[in-house]
Symmetry: C2
Subunit: 235 residues, 2 copies
C-alpha cells in the first residue's frame, strides 16, 4: 500500500502527464508547484517513488510514470471522482463543495468499498465536473471535446467538463447558468480581447476569454468519437 503523500504525488503526475491538452513534460518544480510543496520536497519523494519503481526519471531529466505508477495514480483519480459523484448524487452537495472532501476520501483503502460505491452509483462514467471516471482497470472514456474558446461564432456546444475547480470559478459558472450537460451558444466574440457573448438558457452574458478557456464542450449530436467532422456535427 502507498502512503497518503505517495498517493498525492502519483495522482498529481497522472494529472500533469496524462490529463492535459498540451505540454506533458513534467519536472520537479512544476510538480512541486502543483502540490504546494517546495521543489526539494518533491525531489525527495521522486527518489522514493523511483526506489519503488513507480516513476522513472534520471537526475535533471523529466519525470514519467511506470505502468505500475500510472495504475496506482489512476486508482486515486477513480476514487476521487467516485466520491465526488456520491456527494453530489446522494448527499446533495453542490458541485463546488465536493473537491475538498474528496481529497480526503480518495485515500481510504478498501477495494471492496470503491467497487461497491461504484455499483451503488450505477457505474457512472463522468463525475460532477464532467471528468471521466477511470474504471477498475484504470481505463477512461474520452469524449471528443473542445474548449469553448475555440467554438466558432454561431455554434453551440454541450458542456462536458470544466478545467478550473476553484470555488470562484464554479460559483461564477453557476450564476450565469453554465452547468454540466447544459447547452451554450457562442453568440459573438470580440477579436480585440476575446470577450465572448454566450447565450445560456435564453440569456446573454459577456464573459472573458479566460473563462471560455476553462470550459470543455462537445457537439451535442456526436459526443463521443474522434473525428467529429465526418458526422452530422454541429461544430
Amino acid at each position: 500500500m502507498f502512503s497518503q503523500a505517495e498517493e498525492n504525488y502519483l495522482k498529481a503526475l497522472v494529472q500533469l502527464i496524462h490529463f492535459r491538452d498540451q505540454g506533458n513534460e513534467v519536472g520537479t518544480n512544476e510538480l512541486a508547484l502543483y502540490l504546494n510543496v517546495k521543489p526539494a520536497t518533491a525531489n525527495d519523494m521522486l527518489k522514493k517513488l523511483r526506489e519503488k519503481s513507480l516513476v522513472s526519471y534520471v537526475k535533471y531529466g523529466k519525470i514519467s510514470l511506470t505502468v505500475e505508477g500510472q495504475k496506482a495514480g489512476m486508482d486515486v483519480v477513480r476514487k476521487h471522482r467516485l466520491w465526488e459523484t456520491f456527494l453530489v448524487e446522494k448527499l446533495d452537495f453542490a458541485w463546488d463543495e465536493v473537491h475538498e472532501v474528496a481529497e480526503q476520501l480518495e485515500h481510504i483503502k478498501s477495494k471492496k468499498l470503491v467497487n461497491s460505491l461504484d455499483d451503488f452509483l450505477q457505474n457512472p462514467k463522468f463525475d460532477p465536473h464532467g471528468d471521466a471516471i477511470p474504471d477498475r482497470e484504470g481505463r477512461i472514456l474520452i469524449p471528443y471535446q473542445r474548449l469553448l474558446s475555440e467554438v466558432s461564432i454561431g455554434k453551440s456546444g454541450k458542456v462536458v467538463s470544466v478545467k478550473d475547480n476553484s470555488n470562484s470559478f464554479l460559483q461564477y459558472a453557476d450564476k450565469i447558468g453554465v452547468r454540466i450537460g447544459g447547452m451554450i451558444e457562442v453568440a459573438g466574440r470580440e477579436s480585440y480581447d476575446g470577450q465572448t457573448t454566450l447565450r445560456v438558457e435564453n440569456k446573454d452574458h459577456t464573459v472573458s476569454d479566460k473563462f471560455c478557456m476553462n470550459i470543455h464542450v462537445v457537439c451535442p449530436t456526436c459526443k463521443l468519437g474522434k473525428d467529429c467532422s465526418k458526422n452530422d456535427c454541429s461544430f
Copy 2:
C-alpha cells in the same frame, strides 16, 4: 482540528471511560494496550492532549476527559458508527466487514458530510452492531440492557449489541443465527462452567460463558427505560 492520532486517543478514552460496564478508571498502560502502542507513546500523547485541554490528568494519576475532549471523542465515535451503518445499509457490507474501513472513514473532516450522511441514513439511532450512535451534540440513547450471561434460564432477550467486534466472534455469531434484533432464549445453563444452551430460530446451540458475556440483550417489550422491573418485563 485534531490529527488522526489525536482523534484515535480521544475515541479510545471515550470508549474506556464512558462505554464500559465497570472499571472506568483508565491509566497509561491500559490506554496504550487498547491502541496497540507502547506506554511511552501514550504518555507522550497524553501530555500533548493535556496541553490542548482535552484531557485532565496528573503524573502517575488516572486519566479523564475534559468536556471539550469528550465532545471531540464522541464525534469520532459518531462518525465511526454512521459510516458502519452506511456500509451495511447502502453498500451491502456484512457486519464483520465494516470496522476496519470505518476506522479510516471516521477521520474524514467535514461537518456537512457527517450530517448529510446522518440524514441520508435517516438518522439511525444504532449501528450494525447495536451500538448507540451519538447525535450532533454527542448524546446517546442508552437502552436498558443486560449481558446474555446474566439472563435467567427460560427467559428470552432481544439482541441489541455485541461487545466483541473481532471477525472470529462475529462470524461465529452469524453461524449460529445470532444477529442484532434477533431473539434468543436461554434454554439452559450448566452451573459448573457456565456452558449455556441457547435457542435461536428454533435451533439449540451450546455455547461458552465467554460467548454469552459478549452479547447484550434487552427485554423485547421494554427496550428502553431504566427500571425494567416496573414494567411488564419478561426478564
